[in-house]
């Protein structure tokens, strides 16, 4: 009976697959009638599923053991983390600890190095334990993802993090000492020479104090060029530099590629330089910033800027060389071009020849031609200069045209067939349009208020097509009620056919994601275990790593060094006695070499929590300032004797024996 039902289902599924296949070959025609068997039809009727639903299920369903084709690296928004998601299943694979302590990964809970990475992100006297994560960007080689590193910015605290995709761990956080917030990051140049981070809300550079009345004189924007050292896998702060920008609110950025390599494009709003003042009867920033018909697209010749910095034209502020605004204007580093007011996305086409700017308050996406911009720059054909003497290129002569998209076009990504996909916030749709004639060919609803959009390798020199994902700010009625803070909604859309087709929704319940990128799975080559004794932050054998049989406790004065190993199902040593006030250095090496055989380690009440993946070494330093008896145990159900994987950490009251 059961077998019969199953075989009927399989038969039904096969028929549906055949129908889907036939239909995708046929092109735009709506799905042909599915010759589903009775039992599949019964199931469909019972669950109220349409044929399109069944088709979407068949395109995204992952039977156990089958692996996804793509991985999304998504901003985790306010969580401060990055999400790794499989496509097409839209399953959450990992929440990577980045700016916020992450207990499961033992990130920021005692492990020296995790603590150090988080400490690098300090911007003042307060520990920062969250971030407004915006734009993850994969490292590129020749404009294509190489699957080695991921960079992501924190808008709130003006920081950029480096995640090594060898082990999916955050290895570095750089805190920008110059600006008060950032937005246009962390975008990379085509060979990942630089990670770009542009400021958002203008403030005095170096974060000095200046009253708002001195906004135009003292407040500034900035484009930061973090130099990335690929061999070390770290940003080299000393080799990094910046370009000072006018106090317009710089927004998103994108690096040129191929023909436009060497340039960075940044858009802006509030060229009115409105600062609000509602209590004094002045208009709020939202209206003050929306008075001009045009804002400015910033065009930066970063190779020229790099040469000027090398020639000593930079001014050092807070240890960073900054190319002054006046020099940037006079030396041809910075040019401005009008763009429809309050734009949002700025996205370079795969061939590098054009730049698409989403109108946001304008119904168009404007397509700027790099060749035209370059010619205007070379001929010095300026329309005017702005208040800071920066040359402004004529808008009409810079563009190829404008695509009429709809209300609130934001971001644009690309496929492999010459189409662009723009998120349209107010209309809440994804618009597909042709780069050839700038005509919209299809629209599909997003649920709801789509913000960013991503496509499979959709911002590289060779997009893959197949999928776009709408990253929606609201989910309204899409998911079960979980109280007034609704999940965000990622929607996977199939773009292989002429018409876009919604395949799946994925609730995001950890923060409001911004940008994401999607990479082909085979470009990622993460390790599965560490070599025994590896410190993940150096990638080398830790000098304190211990081998089995050499475990020991060494005391020098009031410093106690514990050389410890962990393997199923015991820690060695399993008894540690120190005296109140001792400084304890725990050096723990996992001797495991079997995949997925992770141990956790905690000394409770001391807020120590480590993740010991196979082979990993961790160092913990703390003061044993609370006398008492503390069980230390494995926090990951590692084996049948996991609960027995425990020991005692005793802190003898001072003066007792």
């Amino acid at each position: 009976m059961k077998v019969k039902l199953i075989s009927a289902l399989i038969g039904g599924a096969a028929i549906v697959v055949a129908a889907v296949y036939g239909c995708s070959k046929a092109g735009p025609t709506p799905p042909a009638s599915v010759g589903a068997s009775t039992s599949v039809k019964d199931l469909m009727a019972k669950r109220g599923l349409s044929e399109a639903d069944v088709e979407a299920a068949l395109r995204t369903y992952m039977p156990t053991g089958k692996l996804d084709d793509y991985m999304i690296f998504a901003s985790g928004g306010q969580s401060g983390q990055v999400l790794a998601i499989g496509v097409p299943s839209m399953r959450l694979l990992k929440v990577i600890g980045v700016f916020t302590p992450e207990p499961w990964q033992g990130y920021g809970y005692g492990g020296n190095d995790g603590n150090e990475v988080l400490a690098q992100g300090k911007q003042g006297t307060h520990a920062l334990t969250w971030a407004d994560v915006h734009h993850p960007n994969l490292s590129e080689t020749k404009g294509d993802y190489d699957g080695k590193f991921l960079f992501v910015n924190d808008k709130a605290n003006a920081r950029v993090a480096v995640i090594d995709l060898e082990d999916f761990m955050t290895k570095q956080i750089v805190a920008n000492p110059l600006v008060a917030s950032d937005h246009g990051g962390a975008f990379v140049t085509p060979n990942t020479d630089y990670v770009i981070e542009t400021s958002q809300y203008p403030a005095p550079l170096g974060r000095e104090y200046a009253p708002l009345s001195e906004y135009k004189d003292k407040y500034r924007g900035l484009a930061m060029f973090w130099k990335f050292d690929r061999t070390k896998g770290r940003i080299d702060k000393d080799a990094s530099w910046a370009v000072e920008l006018p106090p317009y609110t710089q927004d998103l950025a994108d690096a040129g590629k191929l023909v436009s390599d060497g340039y960075v494009f940044i858009n802006s709003f509030n060229t009115e330089m409105a600062i609000g003042g509602t209590l004094d009867g002045k208009p709020p920033i939202e209206s003050g910033a929306s008075q001009n018909d045009m804002d400015y697209l910033h065009v930066i010749d970063w190779k020229k800027a790099e040469a000027l910095i090398a020639a000593g034209k930079g001014t050092v502020i807070k240890g960073i060389r900054v190319l002054p605004l006046a020099v940037a204007g006079s030396e041809g580093v910075l040019h401005l071009i009008g763009e429809s007011k309050s734009p949002h996305g700025v996205d370079v086409t795969p061939d590098g020849t054009e730049i698409v700017v989403g109108g946001k308050l304008d119904t168009h996406a404007t397509v700027f031609s790099f060749a035209k911009i370059k010619a205007l720059i070379d001929e010095k054909r300026y329309e005017s200069r702005d208040a800071y003497g920066i040359p402004v290129l004529p808008f009409k002569d810079s563009i190829r045209g404008q695509a009429e998209i709809g209300l609130g076009p934001l971001h644009t990504v690309f496929d492999d067939k010459g189409f662009a996909y723009t998120s349209v916030f107010i209309d809440s749709v994804v618009a597909k349009w042709s780069l050839k004639d700038l005509k919209v060919v299809d629209k599909t609803p997003a649920h709801y208020n789509i913000g960013h959009i991503l496509a499979a390798e959709g911002d590289t020199v060779s997009p893959d097509g197949h999928y776009v994902v709408a990253m929606n700010k609201m989910s309204l009625d899409r998911f079960a009620n979980v109280g007034p803070l609704f999940p965000q909604n990622f929607q996977l859309i199939d773009i292989d056919g002429e018409r876009m087709r919604l395949l799946a929704d994925m609730p995001i319940g950890i923060g409001e994601p911004h940008y994401s990128q999607m990479i082909k799975m085979d470009k990622l080559k993460p390790i599965k275990i560490y070599k025994v004794g590896t410190n993940p932050y150096t990638g080398k054998r830790d000098p304190f790593a211990t081998v089995g049989g050499k475990e020991r406790i060494e005391r020098k004065g009031d410093v106690v060094d514990v050389y410890m190993t962990a393997i199923r199902s015991h820690f060695t040593p399993d008894q540690i006695v120190v005296e109140e006030g001792d400084t304890v250095n725990l050096h723990i090496t996992s001797l495991e070499q079997s995949e997925d055989q992770t141990h956790g380690f905690t000394i409770n009440m001391y807020n120590i929590d480590l993740s010991l993946e196979p082979g990993k070494h961790e160092n913990v330093t703390f003061k044993a300032d609370m006398p008492g008896v503390y069980p230390m145990y494995c926090t990951e159900f590692c084996s049948a004797l996991h609960l027995e994987m425990a020991g005692y950490f005793l802190v003898r009251p001072k003066g007792t024996k």
Binding site: R568, S569, L591, E592, Q593, A640, L641, E644
Partner: protein, 236 residues
């Protein structure tokens, strides 16, 4: 077969030419050398393979046994074995593994010497010598398997009835399904035995037509001396 009695070999000599007998003598030499080479080669390749499957190990754990060492998932298997109080498998047969190269050398030289230098009565020694190699390996392995399955630490977290892991085919230990199969090295050794077997047959044939059969003792003189040694005077 050959019913020639040793004291009257010349009466019923097989009708094969002198040249052929000379050739066969060289074949015996070559076969002995080949057997020695096969044994030597078997030192460098795996002899036996144990695969252990459990739900947590869908790809299986592998132990590869060669004459000189144990490789594969030794670390993991040791870790698992500690639960039942079994010793480290890399502590098994240390002496045998250290001596393997010398043993194989001695065996090779021995096989050649026996093939050439013993008298007819003792000539089956060459096959016995050859056989002792794979058979000795099997016996020693089973011995160690028995010891490891029986010398279990009584204070181990999991107490098991003593057992002997399967040396051949499928077995079950706890949640593990084990599969044990011979590998190239073992087959090379068997091939060496076959070489010696063929050599023996040829040897016996040559001995059967040996002119010095009455003088045949433990040591054969004919095979070591010039090509015509031991042959009867040329037939008419």
């Amino acid at each position: 077969m050959d019913k020639v009695s040793e004291d009257k070999p010349h009466r019923s000599l097989p009708l094969v030419s002198v040249e052929r007998r000379i050739k066969e003598r060289w074949i015996v030499v070559l076969l002995a050398v080949a057997a020695a080479a096969l044994y030597a080669f078997s030192l460098t390749v795996p002899w036996w393979h144990f695969t252990l499957f459990a739900p947590q190990y869908p790809k299986g754990l592998n132990l590869v046994i060669s004459l000189t060492g144990i490789s594969g998932d030794v670390h993991e298997v040791n870790m698992l074995n500690h639960y039942i109080g079994m010793g480290h498998i890399d502590d098994a047969a240390i002496f045998e593994r250290q001596m393997a190269a010398y043993g194989v050398g001695a065996l090779g030289v021995g096989a050649i010497l026996v093939a050439l230098a013993v008298g007819k009565k003792l000539s089956p020694l060459m096959v016995l010598l050859g056989l002792s190699f794979p058979v000795g390996f099997l016996a020693d392995s089973v011995y160690w398997l028995y010891r490891f399955g029986h010398d279990l630490d009584p204070k181990a977290p999991l107490r098991m009835k003593v057992f002997t892991p399967q040396m051949f085919g499928e077995g079950v230990i706890g949640q593990f399904r084990t599969i044990a199969t011979p590998e190239l090295g073992f087959f090379l050794a068997l091939a060496g035995v076959v070489c010696l077997g063929v050599a023996l047959v040829l040897r016996r044939r040559i001995c059967g037509s040996c002119g010095r059969a009455p003088q045949c003792r433990a040591v054969c003189t004919s095979l070591l001396i010039g090509p015509r040694a031991g042959l009867p005077k040329a037939a008419p």
